[in-house]
Amino acid sequence: MKLKSVKKPAFPWFGMDIGGTLVKLVYFEPKDITAEEEQEEVESLKSIRRYLTSNVAYGKTGVRDVHLELRELSMCGRTGTLHFIRFPTAAMHRFIQMGRDKNFSSLHTTLCATGGGAYKFESDFRTTADLELVKLDELDCLIHGLLYVDSVGFNGHPECYYFENPSDTQACVKQPCSLAHPFPMLLVNIGSGVSVLAVYSKDNYKRVTGTSLGGGTFLGLCCLLTGCETFEEALEMASKGDSTKVDKLVRDIYGGDYQRFGLQGSAVASSFGHMMSKERRDSISREDLARATLVTITNNIGSIARMCAVNEKIERVVFVGNFLRINTVSTKLLAYAMDFWSKGQLRALFLEHEGYFGAVGALLELLKASEDP
């Protein structure tokens, strides 16, 4: 659908990223509404604004990440707050129904969506809620959103951070930094699966590779192995477990370092390798299994990212995606893996708004289209 060329798009301003597991929604709440404007505001619009901004949870599974909201943000001549909301893709149909119930289509707004779900659910939006989606490429949105959020900063603080002394668990600390000169960067987006992009400028990038071992794999395996049901639960267990009871380390095989090849005794030789033995299977906890799953997936992503960085000759590796949400085990492990295996050549960078860039990019597209003559 071609976007209408109007001066400013009609409220509400949404950007949506419908992934394999999670839907990410950003909502711009204007704070500079004049009394006049408020009077003219239709009831349904008001109701949407109140519903979104006065709650932090929606239904059983929707969540607003209050700690991530960007305040006093100026967008397209308006000032307001950008809200970050997520809910499982499995709840998409309920969301669409809500759109119908709240008579969303009467607002004549444009709904910009990216992610695979923009395609998958397009006809549901149309038939159920009488809404036309503007489908946007997910990688374009990801990069644009990321660069934008980094440029506006996180309420006066940098959006980006890295870990100082990543190879030393005691001295490893999170340090804010700036992505002032971001290019070239290797962008590793860890959602249900993983995409690896080499980004040379805002509009010049290529998808280098991807892997199916991503956040979905971590959660899927954890559910099967431990009976847990949510990402939070899985991470909680992982934080308490010991993966060395599950994984076979170099020292378990060689008694120490494998010096011939410079492998440390503490390196994992075989993920889940101990689980080949029945005695070992009987002696581990669910927490150990969750931890091993997390470490396995994370290390593998680190290793692919590192190889891509070397092949593409890029030193800056930026990790994003919702797999990294509340997941310091993984972020620290990635920081360590980049640093250690590259002998300090590569640096892992992270962003506070991990999984929301696609949605932000979709919103930007809405605003940009409106600015065009």
Binding site: G214, G216, T217, L224, K248, R260, F261, M276, I304
Partner: protein
């Protein structure tokens, strides 16, 4: 990462119930030395060097100066002598048999000065005490990875058709690759419990450039947790029955279809186990195992590709217990490599992958015997062949013979190299038809060799009339060769590409195995004798012809001689039934002219070349094969002809006799005697004449040489004649001028 896997069967209960047949399993232990052992998670591989005493037929010229020739006196004498050759033995068996095997070895090991046994593999330390106690040998541990690489180099250099690509849905599952003259550099991806990626640049130069902890141990360990299935083999069987799409999140599950602009198809896995993040559904063991297999194979394939690209390597071999004899894993790895490199890199597998560690450990212990200085050849009679113990492929055989798998390699007496005149040695394929791919041809030839077996047995017995036990040995030969044919019917790929040449060579190996070194020596002697008597008459006839007529007559002579082929059943039937079938009849079959095999066919031709000033290098087999002339016989014949014909005389710059290095009725131009190659190069050979059905039709029919060549043969097989669109006893006369290769200016 390391190949070591902890034995998972809780207790390693020793199975002592089996009895080992000494003729079949640990053979030639009497003179065995230089033991090496590689103990993995479930399989033990034992290696040793031994000598084999063989009967060989030798020819020796009578002292003709001392006595006048008389009728009935053969022109040379044949004697059967004992010859000692070196052989390498490799035996693979399950760890449960290790104690029985060690006892067996101890009991049969006599006259050995061996003091140490080289050991590698993760299990080496666990069984160290047992080995030392049983064998009274000191266990000397060797680094696993260096053994692996050493073994890999050895098989790549010495075993033709060692390497194959796997194509599950292809005409033949296994497509064997040419041995590349230069094996380096390559990447070896060893998938044990973890994965090691090793770059090998030279015999002793290699580096572990990377690896992954997600390997065979992950499949096994995680698989055991998810499916409560304990055994690796069973997990693979589960996986081969499963549907991964119920567990994995595919691109189409996210997009509703393909993600076109990135070229991601709908069926691509977006997130492994992505659908299992729910407590509401139960997943079947099969589906989870399949999903796990895909996840791990894809991941390894991806990493291998990233490393191959980074180091600019195109030859990537896969090994380790995850791969070993498992079509399922070979398929998923192949698929993954193909996907990630867009077809630019092929996943390569090795026939003897399971033996690499043992071979390497053995080589480390055998350095004083200089095994790397020699060329070695796979002995088809003593080797089990690919997948002989694969449970999924061959459950019957597994029941019958336990799980013993063998590889035997003979030390070749000669250094073998490429013919320098091959236009492109890396793309040269000796064999004309690959019977692994051509089902019709395969069925025909297997039947043909089976039918000919009676005749061969008879001939073998007849060649040793003076030995009463010859019949018994011949029967054993029959049994062995018939078993081989049977194996090849079910597993045509067992010894690499199945070809007429490999069928012939296997038969020669089996004959040798039962001490029938040269069943045709006496027939050859008689024929040579007869032919020699006609030599001058043939020459006289030829000399009376005009130049042009003579050229035609010479070629006919060459071809007529070629009819005398005991390998061709159509001919051997006639020859067996009609001992008087002579040269005159042969020429009638050709509806024309003159001469017998080498003496009446080749020598007049050679003589014509010599008389026009052409230098001639006459190459013949080093060892016996059917009734083909051997270099030893040819030496004597040439001397005898030279004595009656001044035009034939051996000299450095006129006529040279060289052995080909081959003992086969066929000819592999990439494995020729080094001396022959040197002579060819030094003398600037500009014409190659290849004669005979084995050498010019079954092999080398399509061989492209960098000089002019002449390939000629009589088709003595009606099926083949039909196939080539002619009649039996039709002639192939193929003169080829090399196509011009574009070179640098």
């Amino acid at each position: 990462m390391a190949t070591y896997v902890e034995a998972v069967r809780g207790s390693h209960s020793m199975d002592k119930s089996i009895t080992l047949p000494p003729d079949e399993i640990f053979r030639n232990l009497e003179n065995a030395k230089r033991f090496a052992i590689d103990i993995g998670g479930s399989l033990t591989k034992l290696a040793y060097y031994s000598t084999v005493q063989h009967k060989v037929a030798k020819v020796r010229s009578f002292d003709h100066a001392a006595k006048q020739e008389s009728d009935g006196e053969p022109l040379y004498e044949i004697s059967v002598q004992e010859e000692i050759t070196a052989r390498l033995h490799f035996i693979k068996f399950e760890n449960t048999y290790i104690e029985t095997c060690l006892d067996f070895i101890k009991d049969h090991l006599v006259n050995t000065e061996t003091k140490v046994i080289k050991a590698t593999g993760g299990g080496a330390y666990k069984f160290k005490d047992l080995i030392e106690k049983k064998l009274k040998l000191k266990v000397d541990k060797e680094d696993e990875m260096s053994c692996l690489i050493k073994g890999c180099n050895f098989v790549l250099k010495n075993i033709p058709h060692e390497v194959f690509v796997y194509a599950k849905h292809g005409d033949s599952e296994f497509r064997f690759q040419n041995t590349h003259p230069d094996i380096f550099p390559y990447l070896l991806v060893n998938i044990g419990s973890g994965v090691s990626i090793v770059k090998v640049e030279a015999e002793d130069r290699f580096e572990r450039i990377g690896g992954s902890s997600i390997g065979g141990g992950t499949f096994w360990g995680l698989g055991a947790l998810l499916t409560k299935t304990k055994r690796f083999d069973e997990l693979l069987q589960l996986a081969s029955r499963g549907q991964h799409t119920s567990v994995d999140m595919l691109v189409k599950d996210i997009y509703g279809g393909a993600y076109g602009c990135l070229g991601l198809t709908g069926d691509l896995i977006a997130s492994s186990f992505g659908k299992s993040a729910t407590a509401e559904k139960e997943f079947s063991k099969e589906d989870m195992a399949k999903s796990l297999l895909h996840m791990i194979s894809n991941d390894i394939g991806q990493l291998a590709c990233l490393y191959a690209r980074l180091h600019n390597l195109s030859r990537v071999y896969f090994g380790g217990f995850f791969i070993r004899g498992h079509p399922v894993t070979m398929h998923t790895i192949t698929y993954s490599i193909n996907y990630f490199t867009k077809g630019e890199v092929q996943a390569l597998f090795l026939r003897h992958e399971g033996y690499l560690g043992a071979i390497g450990a053995f080589l480390k212990g055998a350095e004083e015997d200089n095994p790397n200085q020699y060329c070695w050849g796979e002995n088809y009679a003593g080797s089990s062949g690919l997948l002989s113990v694969s449970p999924e492929l061959n459950p019957m055989q597994r029941e019958r013979s336990g799980t013993f798998d063998m590889l035997e390699m003979d030390r070749l007496e000669r250094q073998l190299v490429n013919l320098p005149l091959l236009q492109d040695s890396s793309s040269y394929i000796p064999d004309t038809v690959d019977l692994t791919e051509d089902t019709l041809a395969r069925e025909y030839w297997l039947c043909c060799f089976e039918e000919a077996l009676d005749g061969v047995v008879k001939r073998a017995i007849a060649s040793q009339k003076d030995q009463p036990e010859a019949a018994e040995r011949a029967e054993k030969f029959r049994q062995k060769y018939r078993d081989k044919l049977q194996t090849l019917r079910h597993q045509p790929f067992a010894y690499g590409s199945l070809t007429v040449r490999s069928l012939l060579d296997t038969r020669e190996h089996c004959l040798n195995e039962f001490n029938f070194p040269d069943p045709y020596s006496k027939i050859k002697q008689k024929e040579n004798d007869l032919a020699l008597k006609s030599y001058q008459r043939v020459l006289k006839t030829l000399e009376e012809l005009s130049w042009e007529q003579r050229q035609i007559a010479l070629v006919r002579g060459l071809l007529a001689g070629n009819v005398f082929d005991w390998g061709a059943k159509a001919v051997s039937d006639v020859l067996e039934s009609d001992p008087e079938f002579g040269f005159e009849k042969a020429k009638q079959q050709l509806q024309d002219n003159s001469g017998m095999d080498i003496i009446l066919g080749v020598f007049p031709f050679v003589r014509e070349l010599l008389s026009r000033g052409t230098e001639v290098v006459l190459a013949s087999n080093s060892g016996p094969a059917l009734n083909d002339v051997t270099n030893g016989e040819l030496q004597i014949l040439t001397e005898r002809i030279a004595a009656m014909d001044p035009a034939i005389h051996l000299s450095e710059d006129r006529l040279t006799l060289v052995q080909s290095g081959s003992s086969s009725p066929c000819l592999d131009l990439s494995r020729l005697d080094k001396v022959l190659a040197t002579v060819v190069r030094e003398r600037g050979t500009d014409l190659v004449v290849i004669e005979g059905m084995g050498r010019a039709i079954h092999t080398n029919y399509y061989a492209a040489l960098s000089c002019e060549s002449l390939k000629l043969a009589v088709i003595k097989n009606s099926w083949l004649a039909d196939r080539l669109g002619g009649k039996i006893f039709s002639v192939v006369f193929k003169y080829e001028v090399p196509s011009i290769i574009q070179g640098h200016h």
